[in-house]
Symmetry: C2
Subunit: 341 residues, 2 copies
């Protein structure tokens, strides 16, 4: 008889207050083949993409879908082509959004998307980091093309819209580490404080006109913009604030058409960053996520970066997962929510 | 008494058949100061931007505006801060669109935007090249971030939409020189032939569905796209054809809103290229246009690149300039139109 495991998932898009919006069920325990690792989950982090995918179900599914793509655990099995990890090693990763998620006892993940977990951080501190670190790293160093050498970036400015969220809290740290002058946005006293504690040099209020806020702070324009919230609402300001030939990257999609022509006189560049593109399309550079997580792990152990976890639930069950989704849905969370198994 | 010179310009937006749409007049001969060179014009090239600016006049101007930003001539004077050129040297340049143009006996141009003219080409062959070469160079090597090392780019593909126009005719050559597999678009037998003679490996018909044409030619997608015509009409195809994490650059503006979200799943990058951005904003990297033109000049002298001139008028007078504008307005020109002084 096949071994089974417990998992949490959904069959249809229901309000998070509904007990059936996310529920526990038994399913077959998977086996590692090829490049896959079988990971015994120890902690998971909850992200806006989990809510988006739960809400994207347009009709009732036949079988429950396991979501969650931000995990920490121990390698229990290795596929025959996996060479980067050994059984018993503690790893962290975001994984592939088109495969079953980590809200379960076990998960399969391609080893090229996995890094060794930090050794000096707790399990929940580490579990908070993979998805947001990969998103922030790829945004800054791949999409904006920033060289991580702090000397080169002296005097360069980056605006990070929504500095206190999950990605913002690590992006401000990474941008600071890379020697940039970091201007972040936040609006509440607690998010302003958090942002200044996580690498931001200055904070603008994104509920006011950002261009005016930036000019008041003494900056005519910025070299880079990382957009992490409400691209529709901030687009015109982004076009005003970016330097000629500057670069903008956004992780949040637009709901309205954006006037791309606003960037034309400045010959500016716009990139999307979706951390799952590499795994979704099985790109040959997938292994860069392994490499990036190894670097992030080292920077966390060295104390250069700090964990952004702010809320921990325990244990990993449907009730706690619904609580976490409910918090993400407020769009007001600071840092990261982790659930310990 | 101030010395005068002849120039050609316009006071209002009139149909090109109207003799007053572009007319000759006398104006003060300028003097070089600062970083400027005073250049005695020997030949000019006509570009779509000349037509755009002529047509952009919403009310009658007080004084005629001299247009044309693509020139070859001899340095007659140097400002006190100019150090790159000597009197008597033959130069070519595009210049700055917010200053008086080259459709005149003399023109002032910042030396940081100027290169030495090729020595082995004729005056009209050389005069055809600066604006389009700068646009193509900046598009490929700055905006798309292609390394000009042909070894590195082996196996990489670029789609150049409208390969037979002014920029297309040099972009195909430069992309070929950089080792890329060059897929260009054209639709008429003469433009297909021209494009294949100027660096394209394959030609697709842009009057058909480009995605289907590309797939028929055996390519699922391309690494880079350079859009030189009708971005509105080709946007959906561009999003379909670009590889995940691929890069798109366009020189032609959009008339309708573009659905930027189509690029999101692929985490693709979009850049505008407007060759005049550096001079318009007086950017500190303006001197890269001097450096690029020096390289272009050398590549032309070495025979690596060839001139794209296809039509020469002589002399530079209002009647011939109107003829040239009329040809540009058809949107069917192949290569470049030059007017010899």
């Amino acid at each position: 008889m096949d071994e089974t495991m417990k998992a949490i998932g959904f069959l249809q898009n229901l309000p998070i207050a509904d007990e059936k919006s996310l529920f526990e069920f038994e399913t077959k325990k998977p086996k590692a083949t090829g490049h896959d690792l079988l990971v015994k989950i120890e902690a998971i982090a909850v992200n806006p993409i989990d809510v988006s995918i739960r809400k994207s179900a347009t009709k009732k599914l036949k079988n429950p879908r396991i979501i969650g793509w931000d995990a920490l655990g121990v390698v229990e099995g290795c596929g025959e082509e996996a060479t980067l990890f050994k059984r018993g090693e503690r790893v962290f990763y975001a994984g592939a959004v088109n495969r079953p998620g980590c809200n379960a006892d076990y998960q399969l993940v391609d080893e090229r998307l996995v890094g060794h977990a930090p050794q000096k951080l707790s399990i929940v501190q580490s579990a908070a980091m993979p998805l947001t670190s990969l998103t922030a790293w790829e945004s800054l160093f791949e999409k904006l093309g920033i060289n991580p050498d702090a000397q080169i970036n002296k005097g360069k400015t980056i605006l990070i819209i929504n500095g206190a969220g999950g990605v913002g809290s690590i992006a401000t740290q990474l941008a600071h580490w890379a020697g940039l002058q970091v201007i972040a946005t936040a609006s509440r006293p607690e998010t302003v404080k958090w942002t200044l504690e996580h690498g931001a040099d200055e904070v603008l209020n994104h509920h006011k006109n950002l261009t005016e806020e930036l000019r008041k702070a003494g900056h005519q324009s910025v070299d880079y913009i990382l957009g992490l919230n409400d691209i529709d609402g901030h687009w015109k300001e982004m076009a005003e604030m970016i330097k000629p030939q500057g670069k903008i990257v956004s992780i949040t999609g637009n709901k309205q058409p954006l006037d791309l022509g606003l960037l034309k006189p400045k010959s500016a560049t716009f990139s999307w960053e979706w951390m799952y593109t590499k795994s979704f399309y099985q790109l040959s550079n997938m292994i860069t996520q392994h490499e990036t997580l190894e670097k992030i792990s080292a920077l966390l152990d060295e104390g250069v970066l700090k964990s952004t976890v702010t809320k921990v639930f325990e244990p990993l069950n449907a009730a706690n997962l619904r609580q976490a989704h409910k918090m993400i849905e407020t769009n007001r969370t600071i840092g990261k929510i982790v659930i310990r198994k």
